[in-house]
């Protein structure tokens, strides 16, 4: 039943945004250009070097494509959380608590920026373009991985996003900290973790699991050994990691809302 409500909220939003098709198309284009700029950076770098962290251009672009789709979809789903500090500061968060619905889903549906699909489109185009160039075997497992990876990545990035944005309940000006993880994850997921130093690498593999968004699944798709020598099973572990991440994010969010209500401080 509740799902039906959210579907209706989303449907209303879609209708209201498509009411101005030209402005919608321009918004999409702007988002696509934003995403494509990162692509240009990668291409420029590869104009100078042959490999980045042990991966060639097509291989890095594969990670970029997978991560781009995941980031775009996550941004679409929970990007509204960026406004959380405002909701808290102005007291508008109270309004969410006065409705018979969950706070997180209400926030997520408080605005639906369909234009973020522009980002997803760029990721999708790049992904399709490099599938052959990167030498991915068209096995059923790989095809399944290609479909599942961006979706699991979406869940992972969303969970990271939710958990870090909840910081705003403790520190109202915590937006900068949260953004380091949210928009930062666009960067950290698009490159192979091997380009980072050992300390950061550990963070992205095990603390903030952004390496599971694109890096590990890409190893599976490319059928390459891990240059870091990490266990082979990790490349198929993303869905499991996503489940854990969602559980942690849900716990953090619950604790944060309790604190807001004054039960936990």
């Amino acid at each position: 039943m509740a799902e039906g409500v959210y579907r209706r909220i989303v449907a209303s939003r879609v209708r209201s945004q498509l009411a101005y098709p030209t402005s919608f198309a321009l918004d999409c284009l702007a988002q696509a250009i934003g995403q494509a700029l990162e692509l240009v950076v990668i291409l420029v770098v590869f104009g100078r070097v042959r490999s980045l962290g042990g991966f060639d251009r097509e291989e890095v672009l594969l990670m970029y494509g997978l991560a781009g789709i995941a980031f775009g979809l996550a941004d679409l789903a929970v990007g509204q959380l960026d406004d959380l500090p405002r909701w808290i500061r102005t007291g508008e968060f109270d309004v969410l608590l006065a409705r018979p619905l969950g706070t997180l889903t209400q926030l997520a549906t408080s605005d639906l920026q369909l234009r973020r699909l522009g980002r997803v489109a760029v990721g999708l185009v790049v992904l399709v373009a490099v599938i052959t160039g990167a030498g991915i075997e068209p096995t059923p497992l790989n095809l399944a991985l290609l479909v599942v990876t961006p979706l699991v990545g979406t869940v992972l990035i969303s969970a990271i996003w939710v958990a870090t944005c909840a910081v705003s309940f403790w520190v109202v000006d915590g937006k900068e900290v949260a953004n380091a993880f949210t928009y930062g994850s666009s960067l950290t997921t698009s490159y192979p973790v091997t380009v980072f130093g050992p300390w950061l690498r550990r963070v992205f593999c095990f603390a903030v699991p952004s390496a599971f968004v694109a890096y590990f699944p890409a190893l599976a798709l490319l059928d390459r050994p891990d240059p870091l020598g990490l266990p082979h099973a990790l490349r198929y572990a993303s869905p499991l990691v996503a489940v854990v991440a969602v559980a942690v994010a849900a716990l953090v969010w619950r604790t944060a809302v309790r604190r807001y209500q004054g039960a936990g401080s």
Partner: protein, 316 residues
Amino acid sequence: MIVETHGLRREFRIGRIGRRRTVVAVDGIDLTVAHGEAVGFLGPNGAGKSTTIKMLTGILVPTAGTLRVCDLDPVRSRRELARRIGVVFGQRSQLWWDLPLRESFALLRAIHRVEPAVHRERLDRCVDVLGLAEFLDVPVRQLSLGQRMRGEVTAALLHAPDLLVLDEPTVGLDLVSKERLRLFLQEVNAAGEVTVLLTTHDLADVERLCRRVVVIDHGTVVADDSLAVLRTTFGGARELVVELTAPTPALTGLPGVRGVAVEADGLRQRLAFSPADTTAAALIAAVAARVDLRDVTVVEPSIEDVIRTLYATRTT
């Protein structure tokens, strides 16, 4: 009882780490509201009105005390309670800002699982009485404050709540909008459909809507009575304003009169009296026996005076 609180208390911890201090916003409020009542919550800024409302609606957890609303524990059963009450925050919108009212109402229907036919009937009534028809299809962000508030009240009533909680519903509205809203709320409450609890700065809201007034200051209830009783207890003197045909020296020595103020060279005189000492009729007769009267008016103490007296007695 639809609302029942005992020793309701809420503290906030404010300030930086190391310099933390505790502020008591609500300090032991006992309040019971019966079905069908219309209760006005009155008090200065920072008196604890809004904090109390937030605890009643499950937004904030009380620091201490017991609390039941619609026989539910507001925080534990927040979502269930939200189905039984309607909340209007004057300063915040609970509508979807980018959607037209019509769509907001349709979403609320789905959220509260109201039968389409029942929904249409309730909506039609609100549209009719509150005059929503002309802006039903305009996105909420483009509505004027008065239009939006009418939408908010409609939104809060569509699921036929047992309790309607309004936190400063008339803030910022022009006189006509205020009046329209008050009339509607009065009608809804009089029909016995919903219990109304409202906080306000605007004393006219209370005078028009609430038979019972709870005055809050510094987090405690300083008065809880009917408006009429509050008036006679704390209101002090009423005033008889007499307009005379010729300038006359101050009308002193009238029985039961506590003070005389002379205006317009004695053409108008204000006679303060207490209903306990004499009646307006007796006083008018006494004045008429001494001078020629052109006009008389009896001025009730305003509720502002009542509240001011209350605060004065409390602080001294």
